[in-house]
């Protein structure tokens, strides 16, 4: 009896599984290389994507430049969510990406942030006073948020005077870490990193001080034949993903 019951139970599980899988009989997997700054949003989008389509996303997070270098060395990535436009453009031009699949999935915003509640008075005045020993930015050569930080300081005419106080994080993630631990009293970070963080003080850098940080996604050649990869990019453009992207502090474009 016990055996029969167990057997029946077993078959019902199999039947149930068959039913759940049925709508996505071709459930696939996407291997996505994603810029480190987009980690939080990407995880949430992936969960929504799996719920909607049955496909799953496997992420590889890293600095955009490093991801690009890996792509040129035949990394198995199928889609590429960069922190800039330059690398996806280049991937397209050099034949690593499928032409015509590139689009801007989010526009990043820069915040001057300090873990100290009083250092920043809601304006950029502190930059002029130079009343600190270290200011952190992301590597301007590799990270668009770093380039935007330099552009902002240049626009305000304080870049030269701050020169020897600038410390560089390899990524915007590391830059945030420098500021969050107080090792650098303040720094230029991504809005997405401090959106939920009420602590400290901040200045939302006006968008006319730096070129928009457009983050592009592109379908890589490795994913050209993968239906799940195309579905993922379509989902990334859709309203549900856009809501998540905006929730994480990025603007979206039409």
């Amino acid at each position: 009896m016990a055996f029969a019951k167990g057997f029946l139970h077993g078959t019902s599980i199999v039947a149930f599984m068959a039913l759940t899988i049925a709508p996505s009989a071709r459930a696939g997997e996407v291997l996505a290389a994603v810029a480190a700054n987009f980690t939080g949003a990407a995880n949430e989008i992936a969960a929504a994507f799996t719920e909607a389509t049955g496909h799953t996303v496997i992420h590889s997070f890293g600095p955009t430049g490093q991801i690009y270098a890996q792509i040129t060395q035949e990394a198995p990535f199928e889609v590429f969510l960069a922190a800039d436009q330059a690398r996806p453009e280049r991937a397209e031009a050099e034949g690593y990406a499928v032409p015509g699949t590139r689009f801007t999935y989010g526009v990043g915003r820069v915040v001057l942030w300090s873990a100290d509640d009083t250092l920043i008075d809601g304006t950029g005045a502190v930059l002029g006073s130079g009343d600190f020993t270290h200011i952190a930015i992301a590597n301007p050569q590799t990270a668009p948020y770093g380039a935007a930080a330099v552009e902002t300081m240049q626009g305000l005419g304080v870049f030269a005077s701050l020169g020897d106080k600038i410390v560089q994080g390899m990524t915007i993630t590391q830059t945030h870490q420098f500021v969050a631990t107080g090792n650098a009293q303040l720094g230029f970070v991504a809005l997405s990193q401090v959106l939920d963080d009420e602590s400290g003080s901040r200045w939302m850098v006006p968008q006319d001080l730096y070129a928009p940080i457009r983050q592009d996604a592109v379908l890589l050649e490795r994913g050209a034949e993968n239906e799940a990869a195309r579905a993922y990019l379509a989902f990334l453009k859709g309203p549900e993903a856009r809501m998540i992207i905006e929730k994480f502090g990025y603007d979206t474009e039409d």
Partner: protein, 227 residues
Amino acid sequence: MTEAPLLDAAMVQTTVLTLKLAAVSTIVLLAVGTPLAWWLARARGLWKEVVASIVALPIVLPPTVLGFYLLIAMGPESPLTALLGRKLSFTFEGLVVGSVIYSLPFVVNPIRNAFEAMGERPMEVAATLRAAPLDAFFSVALPLAAPGLFTGAVLGFAHTVGEFGVILMIGGAIPGETKVLSVTVFDYVETLQWDKAHVLAGGMLAMSFLVILSMMLVERRLNGRRE
């Protein structure tokens, strides 16, 4: 596009800085590591194993873990910062502290082995000849442990040159202050300047090989002399 020189100013600067960091760290490592190795070789009891384990930790810990703790330890709220009156993060001195901790086992272990291999006998003989303990240490123990000291110094130097994770976490990549070779190579790869990355990476590969080879040759000579 103009032809770039094989080595530009930035590459020379990062190389000089790296060698300076490795040299200073090696001197501190020998100064700290030698008495520590001596104590580990002579002491008895449980304490010895506890201290030996702490010294060996950097071998198994990912550099990012060590770097993360160092970043916290060098932060504004830490007792260390209060004690020194200044932050160590993003400074050359901070990198020396990080390098010394990170490379300590590579220096202490060979020296400790050399002291242990020497046995109690030479120091006992020195004592019967009325040599003061400190005198005996410098004129008997250290010369006998010379191969271990040499191996430790070479490994400490080479390991510091090859350090990346810890420096990445506490350095801040300031040219001339904390931007060392390994970080520069990473930077060049990131920015697709692979020609420059090749020059530095190839140089480091050749240097590492020569360092290890010369160490093995010297060890062979020293061992041969003793047999």
